[in-house]
């Protein structure tokens, strides 16, 4: 290591605040760039499943309540 101790690495002879805040913001932004789509991916698949469920419910309800004669008028 270039520095003699961990304290020296953190302090960086006074420049530590600048270097480590840059690193922290960068890592946070990069983490967001991969975590946001991963969470979104799960939400999207759930949404598709909800759509499928809703469509199936609607089809079932139509079959159960609407006799074939009234089918056109009901819409």
């Amino acid at each position: 290591m270039y520095f003699e101790s961990i304290e020296a690495l953190l302090n960086m002879s006074g420049h530590g605040v600048y270097v480590w805040s840059s690193v922290a913001v960068t890592l946070a932004a990069m983490l967001w760039l991969v975590s946001a789509p991963l969470l979104n991916h799960r939400a999207l698949l759930k949404e598709v499943n909800r759509d499928i469920q809703r469509q199936q419910d609607r089809e079932l309800a139509e079959k159960a309540t609407v006799p074939t004669d009234n089918h056109k008028e009901s819409h």
Partner: protein, 258 residues
């Protein structure tokens, strides 16, 4: 030779297959773990090397270590712009479905990388120039890059039709490409506080090898990270636009059951 001929431009099969969102979605699932692992390892190596092991700069002291994230982020912010613009152009010319999705996916990633470059540059400027922000040619053109990315993102939501939004975004992305050479040449064309390029393809790097090697590692790491982020965002865009198709529905049902 016969295998090679499959990849020559006369045979467009690969082009069509790559253009199929479904094919890309399934294939990229296999690429992602390896690419993520590689990105993580390379970035960790470069960061530890640059922050803790590289020697300090004679003039700037330790603040110079910001270079190990500032330069790769600025690099990818510009490369990413080209990727976005080229994807837009392919969409306009060949009407390849997936290229518009890649273009849309590239915008927020590029914006975040441009933000990182601007933020780390501002923090670096304080101990080096005595100011967080100066209206200098390099910095101003990078700010314009951020606005261009934001413009492409905003245009995606400005139209009711996905197709119209994609075309408008692609045109803005292509027009904005003029900004890239301006960013590159800004340090030569105008008198500026910003230091000249550290890395040029045409000449040896202007820094010592002990400092330069970790920077090179970080740039490779950022490219890998960019690829992972772009694939993740593109896959979501595929699901969003193809959510009515049977293959996405089957995929969602399978995921819910398992």
């Amino acid at each position: 030779m016969s295998r090679l001929s499959n990849w020559l431009p006369t045979n467009w099969q690969w082009f069509n297959r790559l253009g199929s969102p479904r094919w890309f979605y399934h294939r990229s699932e296999r690429w992602l773990p390896w690419m993520s692992l590689a990105a993580l390892l390379v970035l960790a190596t470069g960061l530890v090397w640059g922050l803790a092991f590289a020697p300090e700069d004679a003039k700037q002291g330790n603040s110079f270590r910001i270079i190990y994230i500032h330069v790769p982020a600025a690099f990818l912010a510009q490369s990413g712009y080209f990727i976005m613009a080229i994807a837009g152009a392919i969409g306009l010319i060949w009407k390849m479905k997936i290229s518009y999705m890649v273009m849309k996916a590239a915008a927020p990633i590029g914006a975040a990388l441009t933000f990182i470059a601007l933020f780390t540059g501002a923090v670096w400027g304080k101990p080096t120039w005595g100011a967080y922000w100066v209206w200098d040619a390099r910095i101003t053109s990078m700010l314009i890059l951020l606005f261009l990315y934001a413009g492409v993102m905003a245009l995606q939501y400005a139209y009711h039709s996905v197709d119209a939004a994609s075309k408008a975004s692609a045109i803005l992305a292509l027009v904005g490409t003029v900004n890239i050479p301006i960013i590159n040449k800004s340090v030569d064309w105008w008198y500026t506080l910003h230091q000249p390029a550290t890395i040029k393809l045409t000449s040896a790097p202007s820094m010592h090898m002990d400092m330069f090697m970790p920077l090179l590692v970080m740039i490779v790491g950022f490219y890998l990270f960019y690829a992972v982020a772009l694939i993740l965002h593109t896959r979501n865009e595929i699901l969003r636009r193809e959510r009515k198709t049977s293959w996405v529905r089957e995929l969602a049902t399978a995921k819910a059951g398992g």
